[in-house]
């Protein structure tokens, strides 16, 4: 076992006991995270289609085919469009609502908060199924309501452009609660002294927001953005339920495409290679975002 400062700081007779106590957790992590990850890396360097027999020789062909695959490129474009749209909208709407909810003069604040948090409590599959029913062009309640007030009734999921917009809307409806929760927690913990000082200096509401709230909230916003971004890059369930990547390939995301290569085409090698590329992109984007936000903070 690795000698960590944690163990070094202990008296030698306690070290063995400490290691024993930690062992189950370490073994658990090995079994459920590290081993599958390393195994997937190993598989990604081999040709292996599950229904076609044995694992092949070591080679890079999976990575080469994958990077040339126009369908993966299309999925990457869709994923980036989806991620940027939902993260920007969710942070903007979520921050706005968190600021409103942070106003202690609003009556029934907790009730509003509870209602706004309900979507977060639902699993994405349920959200997808509910929305699929709501959005049914002929039988759904949304188009029925629109027809009552004489508005046009869009075919939400059957039009290539509209289908992506619909997925973005549903995702924003579902995930904004999370942003509200994180940002509201951040806002509640801001020190009052700064606002009192700003008030004495005669700052306007806008100035207080711009020079006190925003800088103090930057780390929280950063965390919320990173968590949402990582999750959005992996969007799979909404696409699976709402469109199956259609119409055409207009809503196929990387995760959905990987799922198909794995579970439909049973191509272990190619799908593992794609999963590793996705992992690398996510790590890279997280690092860049952290760097950018740090610089902005200073």
């Amino acid at each position: 076992m690795v000698k960590t400062p944690l163990f070094k700081s202990l008296p030698s007779r306690d070290r063995t006991a400490a290691k024993k106590l930690v062992a189950p957790a370490v073994i658990g992590i090995w079994i459920v995270i590290l081993f599958p990850l390393l195994y997937a890396l190993y598989v990604s360097f081999h040709d292996w289609i599950l229904s076609q027999g044995k694992i092949g020789e070591v080679n890079f062909s999976n990575y080469i085919t994958v990077l040339k695959d126009p369908l993966l490129l299309n999925a990457a474009k869709n994923t980036i469009l989806l991620t940027v749209s939902v993260v920007v909208l969710e942070i903007a709407i979520g921050f706005g609502l968190a600021l409103l909810l942070n106003n202690k003069r609003i009556r029934l604040r907790n009730l509003y908060l509870f209602i706004l948090l309900v979507p977060m409590l639902m699993p994405p599959i349920t959200v997808g199924l509910i929305w699929r029913l709501l959005l049914h062009p002929d039988l759904g309640i949304i188009n029925y309501m629109l027809s009552l007030v004489g508005l046009p009734q869009p075919i939400w999921l059957a039009d290539p452009v509209l289908a992506m917009i619909t997925i973005i809307i549903v995702d924003v409806w579902h995930e904004t609660s999370f942003i509200i929760l994180v940002l509201l927690a951040g806002l509640t913990s801001l020190p009052d002294e700064m606002y009192e000082a700003a008030m004495i200096d005669g700052a306007s509401a806008w100035q207080k927001f711009k020079f006190v709230t925003l800088p103090l909230m930057a780390p929280t916003i950063l965390v919320a953005t990173i968590i949402r971004m990582i999750a959005a890059l992996k969007t799979y369930d909404l696409v699976y339920i709402l469109t199956r990547g259609g119409p055409g390939i207009s809503t196929e995301t990387i995760s959905y495409y990987i799922y198909k290569v794995f579970f439909v085409f049973l191509d272990m090698g190619k799908s593992s290679a794609m999963a590793f590329i996705l992992l690398a992109i996510i790590i890279l984007m997280t690092l860049i975002l952290m760097r950018v936000m740090r610089t902005a903070e200073q």
């Binding site: 290691k19 049914h136 999921l157 259609g246 055409g248 390939i249 085409f265």
Partner: protein, 442 residues
């Protein structure tokens, strides 16, 4: 010390695995006890009417044999991905003792060696005789490369289901004659069908919006749209592969069929149809908003059920225009990973016996046995089964290819892209032919 902890942990893991494995194995019957007392048969099935009919009769089997039958009912989309890991499990350690196999998994499962050959069990059985099955069913979900791996459970040959009340309405017949100069008749070719479907698409209550569509359609990727399109292709004389597994699809026929399919989707189907799966397309028909629907022949009993439908007694079934539609079907199979193969076989013998097969048919089930199709009681209740027997006999199955799910995936994608306009029909068929060659077994 650390080593000992790991050893203990490992031992515990092994013991728990052994215990789980032991709990499921068969024990010989004691004197006086029933043959399969205490045995649980785990079955995976799809959530369809035919599964409900089996569930309704289960008590009889459990009463006779003492076994408990545990049927896990799943949505089709989840079945394949849940089955494969269990089928790859070592002999006797899988979660499912008995499974139902969709016709387009047959080659894949058998090439991988996941299913148990049933020839010896059939030879030893006094209850099972495979000669009673329709040959088209036995070819599809019975035999594979000369051996028998499955017994046909039910058919889902596709047919044209249409509203007879609209079709025989004298006003509509007169309007049709005035417009086309000929009598209204059931379509015998795909072009005729597309023309009729467009004619039937209309605003019946004068509010300026179409409320009856000529054709209910399902454009969702991958299998809903792929299965639907194959009826157009087969009817126009096209096929993906010949019986030897060579790609025989030609650009001309493929493009023609796809163009008619897309045209029907645009001129006669509800605007949301490109994203509809089976449920939405079915709902459109059940709510009386469609004149016709190319779907499974056994949808008529379902549409005659007042709990699910507003068109009770109005639907009729006929062959897909052109006479050749897509044949589908499921077979009972015992995976090699089955922990209880003998109990599973006893269940197959029971469920496929003439009496039980007939009872299922009387509930609305889709027969696979000729003696059930021709049974007087069955025909008295469902006179149209005479036509259905012919439809099942004439239809063409999905090509017997081990990578059929992948072919369906590609097919579904290129059709959907053509409907969405991101691909031309020409390019779609070109890609389909190229991919069919890539994915072919030889």
């Amino acid at each position: 010390m650390t080593k000992r902890v790991i050893t203990i942990f490992g031992l515990l893991l092994i013991v728990s695995m052994l215990l789980t494995a032991c709990a499921k194995t068969e024990q010989p019957a004691a004197d006086g006890a029933k043959e399969f007392d205490g045995v649980t048969i785990n079955v995976m099935m799809e959530g369809v009417p035919d599964t409900e009919y089996v569930q309704a009769l289960l008590d009889k089997f459990e009463e006779e044999t003492g076994a408990t039958v545990n049927i896990e009912v799943l949505n089709y989309a989840l079945m394949h991905e849940k089955l494969v890991p269990q089928l790859t499990a070592a002999k006797g350690t899988g979660s499912y003792d008995l499974i139902v196999v969709d016709n387009y998994w047959v080659a894949e499962f058998n090439r991988a060696g996941w299913l148990m050959a049933l020839d010896e069990k059939i030879a030893a059985s006094d209850k099972v005789n495979t000669d009673v099955y329709l040959p088209s069913m036995m070819e599809m979900v019975g035999k594979y490369e000369g051996k028998i791996y499955m017994l046909p459970f039910y058919n889902y040959a596709m047919a044209l289901v249409y509203r007879d009340d609209i079709f025989s309405d004298p006003a509509i017949q007169a309007e049709y004659k005035a417009r086309f100069g000929k009598d209204l008749a059931l379509p015998t070719t795909i072009p005729e069908y597309v023309e009729l479907a467009e004619f039937m698409t209309r605003d019946t209550n004068g509010d300026g919006e179409v409320d009856v569509f000529g054709a209910s359609m399902q454009g969702l990727r991958p299998d809903p749209t792929a299965m639907e399109f194959l009826n157009y292709l087969y009817s126009m004389g096209g096929q993906l592969y010949d019986t030897d597994g060579n790609v025989v699809l030609t650009q001309d026929v493929g493009v023609q069929a796809l163009n008619y399919y897309v045209q029907n989707m645009k001129t006669a189907a509800p605007p949301g149809a490109p994203s509809y799966g089976f449920d939405e397309a079915f709902a459109t028909v059940a709510q009386g908003k469609a004149f016709s629907y190319i779907t499974y022949n056994w949808m008529v009993p379902v549409l005659d059920n007042p709990e699910q439908s507003q068109v009770v007694g109005k639907m009729k079934v006929t062959a897909v225009p052109g006479g050749v539609g897509l044949l589908g079907g499921w077979g009972w199979a015992i995976p090699n990973s089955s922990a209880n193969p003998n109990a599973a076989w006893a269940f197959i013998e029971w469920v496929e016996s003439f009496e039980i097969a007939k009872e299922r048919a009387l509930m609305g089930g889709a027969p696979t046995r000729t003696d059930v199709f021709r049974d007087a009681d069955v025909l008295a209740k469902y006179p149209h089964y005479k036509d259905v027997e012919k439809i099942v006999g004439d239809s063409i199955m999905f090509p017997m290819q081990s990578r059929a799910p992948q072919i369906v995936e590609v097919l579904g994608r290129v059709i959907s892209e053509t409907i969405a306009g991101s691909m031309t029909a020409d390019a779609a068929i070109q890609e389909l032919i190229a991919e069919s060659n890539n994915l072919a077994d030889k």
